[in-house]
Structure formats: C-alpha cells, structure tokens
Amino acid sequence: MADVTFENVSKEFPGGTFAVDDLTLDVGDGEFLILVGPSGCGKTTALRLIAGLEKPTAGTIRIGAETVNGVSPRDRDIAMVFQNYALYPHMTVYRNLAFGLKERRTPKRETDRRVREISSVLSLDELLKRRPAQLSGGQRQRVAMGRALVREPKVFLLDEPLSNLDAKLRVQMRAELKRLHKRVGITTVYVTHDQVEAMTLADRIVVMSAGKALQIGSPQDVFSRPANLFVAGFIGSPAMNLLQGRAGPAPDGIGKTQVTAGELCFDRAGVPSGDVVVGIRPESMVPGGEDLPGPSLDLEIELVEPLGESALVHGTVAGTAARSGAEEEQAILIDETSRAQVTAIFPASLQSRSGDRVRVRVDPERIYLFDAATGEAIRHD
C-alpha cells in the first residue's frame, strides 16, 4: 500500500487542450478518494495518469516514495477497474482472475489460493468456469473487481465502475464497495460523475472542472462549504438554486450589509458591496408557516414530482436565475418571464399541486453567497 502524489501535473493533448491542468493532489495511504466532475473535466485522464496509460506533459506523479512518470503500467503495481470492465472475453472467470498473477510469474499454488480466496470474498465461486459473456452485469462487475484485487496492488483505481449497472444493483454494489474497502484498506482512487456515489463512498472528494481541482475535502465539507459557484451547483441533488443578487449597505444598520435577490432580502455581516449570486439548497426552502422567522419568497408551483416521503417541487420565484457552470444540460425551456426557475423539496403530506402559490421561508444562515464576478464563495462565520 502507498500514497499517491500529484505535483503540478498537467496533461496536454495534441491540439493544445489541457485534460489535466496543474493538478496538485495527495491521496493518503488507505484513503478512498473520489474524483468527481462533469464529463470532459479531466477526471478519467487523471486516473489514467496514475495507471500509466497516459504520460504527464508536466509535473511529477509519485506512488509511495517512487516517482513514476516514466514507469510503465505493469511496473507500477496498481490495479484498475474499467467502466466497461474489459474482461478478457476468451478466458474463463478463473483465468481472468489469474491472468495478472500468471503474468507476474506467481507460483501456481499461490495463484490458485489467491484466486479461490478472492472469489469467495466476492461470491464468484460458482462462476469460475464461465466466460464473461455468460455472466450478468453485476457478476461481470464483481469479476472485474476481483481481477484487480487478487493481485493485492498498492493502489486500486476505478473508472466509473457502477455506471453500467441498473439503478438497484448500483446502490447494492455501492454498499459492497464500501464494505470491501473497509476490509482490505487499499488506497483507492475512484472516478465518477455521479455525485451521490461520491458523497456516499469517499473519504475525500475532489471536484474537478476543466482539468483543475476546484475543491478537495470531505463529502460533508464539500457539501456544506462549497468553495465556489461550480462546486455549489455540482454537489447536491437536486442542484442548489441560484439567483442573481446585489449586496449593499443596509439602510438601518451600521456595518451590516443587506443582500437582495428578487423578493429575497436579508442582512449579512462582512459582505463587500457588489453583484452576488445567492444559493439556496432545495431542502432549505421551507413551505408555509407565517410564524417562521427570516426572509421569504413566493413560489409559483409548475410541476410536482412525488418521491414518496417527499416531493420535488419545481416552480418559479421572482428574480433572475444564475448559472453555476456545472449544469448538465442547458435548460430546455427558456423562461422569458422575469421569474427564476427553482426546485424545492416539500413533505409529501403537503400535497402540493401545480398552479399553487406557496410562501416559502429560508433560514438566512443556510443561504450561500458567491461573488458574481469570480464565482468564489463569500464565507461568513
């Protein structure tokens, strides 16, 4: 086992695009680190740099104490699970698992012992004689993990390993992965675009965009203290609602600043005057209750998606929406009115219906502020 270090690593592809741009990163020994970001953000390239499948154009990569920039994949003692599993189709499960050990000239007995051991850990015993084509998606996924783990590598790399599974299996395998990591404790780097996977599995998350690490921190930290607008918009599902706003001196307070965004108006100390973006998580929008303190908004409900316990409520509020840059798609229906699209999570018992107008209150302590020009978070204590 070993730690992995990136020191100002860049990967420039021919044509001048930087897939990874001056990335500095430390993966601790035994840590479960997740690289997360939208497609094309460079997370897979970063993983392939660790594997040695790509060579950095600048910077230093270390595994343990060794600089591995020029070391070939086979000599790095790492293992990787590919998105499409990349099982050898002409070999049985047993030979798939044993391939890496054979290539490293492990004695036959030892190979057999380790293959049997890992296949019992992953409940593959019954499948050893089958070929990949005769396996279900979940079984293939387990074989791919087994093939990586059987070699007891220093670093375990996973490239979107759950994305080819159906939703139910994905949740199940996610839990299994976490259990497995607890048990073997190998340094793990995991790439995903699914922030739920990132939140649930990681010790630490690296949010990437355009080849850069925008924030590195624990899942809770990244969620509750996003460093900038992009991270705020990317982490959290459904995404944080963002409104354009302005900060200026409060009419009735000394040293206080008043922030306004559409109908929303609240005081916040230590905010420099200027254009800001106001962020409100859907779960922070509390319906009804005239007695609740704090600023409030008038929400016009357009669409309700029931989730059982709660319901996703899509609607509009007064104001102008802001963009984080992390949106998966451009909004399909561009709203020509002056109202901003927002999403809230309401208890299902409320039985919200489209067309309703609801008064929504927001705890000012749970409102995020970002500098509209730089996108950086404006922190408050």
Binding site: A51, G52, L53, S72, P73, R74, R76, I78, A79, M80, F82, Q83, N84, Y85, A86, Y88, P89, H90, F99, G100, E103, R104, R131, P132, A133, R147, R151
Partner: protein, 307 residues
Amino acid sequence: MTGIVPAARVPLPEPAENRGPERASRADRGKQRESPGGFLFSPWHLILIPIALVMLVPMVWMLATSLETLNETRHFPPIIFPHTLRPANYSDVLTQAPFARWFVNTTIVTVVTVAGNLLFCSLAGYAFARIKFFGREVVFVLILATLMIPFQVVMIPTFIIVKDLGMINTLYALIVPNLAGAFGIFLLRQFFRTLPVELEEAARIDGASRLSVLFKIVLPLSGPALATLAVITFLWTWNDFLWPLITIYTPNNMTLQLGLATFEGTHQTSFNLLMAANVMSMLPVLLLFFLAQRYFIRGIATSGLKG
C-alpha cells in the same frame, strides 16, 4: 477452429457492441437460409443456379478427362461421360513424374509462408494499429502503396536480390520474399483497431508486456481475421506459378503448379495425366475452402474494409 467461434461472438464491451446488431442480423439471415423448414426459394436462384452450373463445367470436364484414355481426350466434341474409367491415370502420374516430391515441396512452401504471414503481419499490424511511433502513418501509407504495384514490376529486382542471397533454385527463393505482405498487414491492422483498447490496457496493467498482450489477448480474439489471412495466403502460395517458374529449374525443387506445366509437351500433351495431377493438386485447396469459407467470407466482409 471451434475455439475461435465463441471468441468471435462474445459481446465485447462498447466498441464491439456497436457492431452487434449488424452481426446479429447477418447471423439471423444465415440461420433462415439454413432452416430445416424447407428450401427457401428466392428469384435470385433463377440466376444463381445457371451460373453455378457454368462454373462447374470445367471442374467436371477436368474430373472426366482425368479418368479417360489419351485417345478419348482428343475426341471432339469432348466426352464428359467416359465409357470406361481409367483410374490408372492417377498412379501413372505418381510414377512418371516426381509428383509426390512436388506435393511435399508445395506443402512446405505453403505452410511456412502461411505461418510467416500470420506471425509477421500480426506483429506489424499490431504495431501500426496500437503503438505510437515516429513516422507511423507515413510508413503505413508506403506499405499500402506497394499493393498498387503489379508483381511484374518488382519481379526482376526481387529476382536479383534473391539471386544475390544465393537462393535461386531452392525453396528459400519461394518462401523468403513472401513471408510478410502488405495485404496481411493492412487486414490485421484494420481488425486489431476494432478490438476494444481497454482489454489491452487492462492486460498491460495486469503486468503483460506488449508481446504478451498481442499473443494472449489480441490474437485469440482475432480468429476470423487470422483465418482469412491464412486462407488467402494459402491460395496465393499454393497456386503461384510465375515466381516458381522464374526461380526454380530443377524438377526436384519444383512446386505442383510448375511441375504440372511440364506435362504440356511441345508436340503433344497428355491431358488425361495432366488432369489427374490437377485433381490431386486441387484437393487440399478445395478441402481448405470448404472448412474455412465461413471465415473467409466473413473476414473479407467485416474486417477488410471497416476501420
């Protein structure tokens, strides 16, 4: 060969899956045609059956002539159904000419050439498909360009090289210049490029060298392309006449095609013996073709031009 079939049908990860539906539909059509339900007649058969019969005539004529007496072969119109069969033609060929020797020579030349092509074209094709090196595209285009030069143009330079190597009138002259070919390199490169690259990356991470990846991962998955190359090389080499004619002059070193030509005398030709020898020389080719035609046709259709 049976080992190759499942490998070829395995639903490989993504890139291969893209070809999935097309393959499946082709297989379905194949099944339909072979379905035991009955003979599926299509209007095409009205054209195909007569053409097939026309193609068969020379074969039948050859077979008939090989069983006739010399006098019968000179009859006009030709006798397609001889009155008496003369199988002795076959044993006569074996005694009157070093037929067995020619057969052995041809077999040696063909087997070594096929093996050489499979090995060297795999190595070169893999390098062109997957390894990035300086000048790769240029060299590849140059190799492809040689496909456009007719053999007659390079015949004499090749002869001079082979002569300088001291190989004239030996089997080496027939083998060495043909151990690798542009066609094979192209065919295999195109096929290798369709294999999912993740398989090779996984193997390299697993500790395999480039050569290991080629021999343990890529080649076992390339059955159809290798079979195609083997069959085509076999046919070319087995039936080659011009090059042996130039380089070989002692009967003992001749190949079948060259040897058969010696049956044609200046004043008279023993057509019955010639045809008996022809039948025997064609048997391995026919046998191979029947065994491998599936790969032969599919290989040309799927791997040759896609890429």
